[in-house]
Amino acid sequence: MGSLIHMQEDLNNLDMLSILQKSIDMLMSSDKEEDPDVISEDSSLLTLRIRKKALERREETIIVDRACRQETLAYEMESHAIGKRPDNPTDIVEEGELLLTLNIFYPVIFQKHKDHKPYQTVLVLGSQNLTELRDSISCVSDLQIGGEFSSQPDQAPEHISKDLYKSAFFYFEGIFYNDRRYPECRDLSRTVIEWSESHDRGYGNLQSVKMEDYVFNDVSLKIGFPYLFCHQGNCEHIIIITDIRLIHHNDCLDRNLYPLLIKKHWLCTRKCFVCKMYTARWVTNRDSLAPEDPCFFCDVCFRMLHYDAEGNKLGEFLAYPYVDPGIFN
């Protein structure tokens, strides 16, 4: 009892094909001179009439209409890897591979980010290990150097936090995937699991497993649901999976380029207080020579202001190496 419309027209197959081809050609514009940038005055489409008004308004209000660097960056990131093929044929992504799109939010909390938190978007293959994603996440807290170095500015240690605190975990659907590749890595999730088991808090069975044993195809996930990535003990990033789809001919098929960053939030870097040109590398507290607390300096200005020609410390202050979140721009 369906309501199929039965057309009793009998079409000869060959005739039909030629009619069909003619109709298909009819869809495109035959007028090669048409300029897609120009919307004609008498357009029958509402979309175009509205768009034309919007464009005219833009022309009136914007003095110079060109892509700002953020837009250029965004477009480049989105499209730079499209269609890429690997040099080595063994690195090719196979048909049937899954492609996941993840939004990884920054842990940074600025007032202006109240409404929408900044995030980066990463493409990941289903057959990739979780550790590959973990390694690709670049967070400024990994680069922090702990310690006060006002007395020995040249001896800021080589070790960054990333090397010192290697533990990390992902939390997906009740399972903590801990990074246990190095002996220094600890099970950060143990605290959480113990806490949830201590009383009947209503959380189901939380498990802890090794991150390196799992690929994304093995992980059970919900799309749109917030998950967690935690490293450095207390630096937490929310992860949301926005899309899962099959790999496509037009995608980047070079396995080495994955996880692929396709979108990044542009964070303004803090500049040196003195020259206002270079990105800040030092921050001082309780500095008698500085007008505000805390105060940011680039390396050159910092040394010029706080140390004399022999390298002696001038004045009282505390100095810490500073890594700006915008360093990844």
Binding site: M7, S29, L45, T47
Partner: protein
């Protein structure tokens, strides 16, 4: 993502015109497309990033019409529309059409339907899209993004585009009716087998209406016809000029209302003859009894339904006449047990013109 302003109106206008043309031939669609110069929907000076975004949103909008619950003709129109939009977009490389996993079996069924009904042009267009690798096979239909929206936009699509087939039709299918018939026959035979007279079941065993399967089928057919008529009326009413034919519209819709009333009345009238069949939802309905016309079994009576709708008294016979449907007749030879229900109000409502139809 926020919608492209004006796009929904344009697409619906095109699909509406295609529906009016009452055909599924691609030629016709191409003519309509060409008339409107639809390929210009991507025009306008914009940079690559924005162009990609707009193309993506356009394809997403058109894709929604490609899936159920839209009518077959609309879905074919949407297929053609997708083909047109995919090929005339200005992005390099082209933006793809997202199809969710859950929708894929529906689409395959749709393609099979196209081939079975010999709409080879539509099937060819679909194959061309597949070969052009125009689809992204995704887990979920909509790509998520994270901006807090001030208000949630709701897409309300036109009612006319929706397929009129509905739950009644999907519940009472041919298979169901056939099975009911079989069970009914079997039941009758069982009754005969245990009765004294082997050719006829005992009067004491008669608890159901014999022709209920036939009746059920009639009712469903009538319902479907009514729906189609209503659809047509609705479309006609929309088409006619508002200022001129307002009254005509009103009377059309009015008579539609009374048609509906009479049709419903008739359906209920028939179904009320079968006590056992009265659905639970209708228990509350007031019913009144009438003695049997034929007088064959004076101890039993048939039930007639009274519609508790004094406002609808204008369901006049001339309107009812329009709804003649060819129906089968089956001899009734059993009556119903007597059941009285309380309703003092119902005494007033009388519809003497209503005749019981066999």
């Amino acid at each position: 993502m926020s919608a492209v302003p004006g796009l929904q109106a344009d697409c619906e206008e095109l699909l509406g015109a295609f529906q009016q043309a009452d055909t599924v031939r691609f030629e016709r669609f191409a003519e309509l497309w060409r008339e409107r110069r639809f390929h210009t929907v991507f025009y306008g000076r914009m940079r690559a990033l924005e162009r990609n975004k707009i193309a993506k949103k356009t394809l997403e909008l058109a894709q929604q019409y490609f899936l159920p619950p839209y009518a077959f003709q609309i879905r074919v129109g949407a297929l053609y529309l997708l083909y047109g939009l995919y090929n005339t977009q200005l992005c390099q490389p082209k933006q793809k059409i997202r199809i969710a996993l859950k929708d894929w079996p529906e689409i395959q069924k749709f393609q099979q339907d196209l081939i079975d009904s010999q709409h080879y042009d539509a099937a060819y267009i679909f194959r061309k899209l597949r070969l052009a690798r125009a689809f992204h096979f995704t887990a979920m239909p909509k790509l998520l993004n994270y901006r807090t929206k001030k208000k949630i936009e709701e897409n309300e699509f036109k009612e006319e585009f929706k397929d009129p087939s509905n739950r009644v039709n999907s519940l009472i299918t041919n298979d169901v009716l056939e099975e009911l018939m079989n069970i009914h026959d079997h039941y009758q035979k069982m009754k005969c087998a245990i009765s004294a007279d082997k050719s006829q079941p005992d009067k004491a065993l008669s608890l159901i209406k014999d022709d209920f399967v036939v009746t059920l089928k009639d009712i469903t057919l009538e319902h479907q016809e009514w729906q189609q008529n209503r659809m047509k009326l609705f479309l006609n009413a929309k088409e006619t000029d508002e200022t001129e034919n307002k009254k005509k519209d009103e009377s059309l819709l009015q008579s539609e209302g009374s048609e509906r009333a009479s049709a419903l009345a008739r359906i209920k009238y028939r179904s009320y003859s079968a006590v056992a069949e009265a659905s639970k939802s209708r228990r509350h309905r007031q019913v009144r009894l009438e003695s049997s016309e034929s007088g064959k079994s004076p101890s039993r009576s048939r039930k007639t339904s009274r519609r508790p709708q004094p406002a609808r008294r204008r369901d006049s016979p001339e309107v009812r006449g329009e709804m003649e449907v060819a129906e089968e007749t089956v001899t009734r030879h059993v009556g119903m047990p007597v059941i009285t229900e309380e309703n003092s109000d119902e005494e007033e409502v009388s519809l003497p013109k209503r005749k019981r139809r066999c």
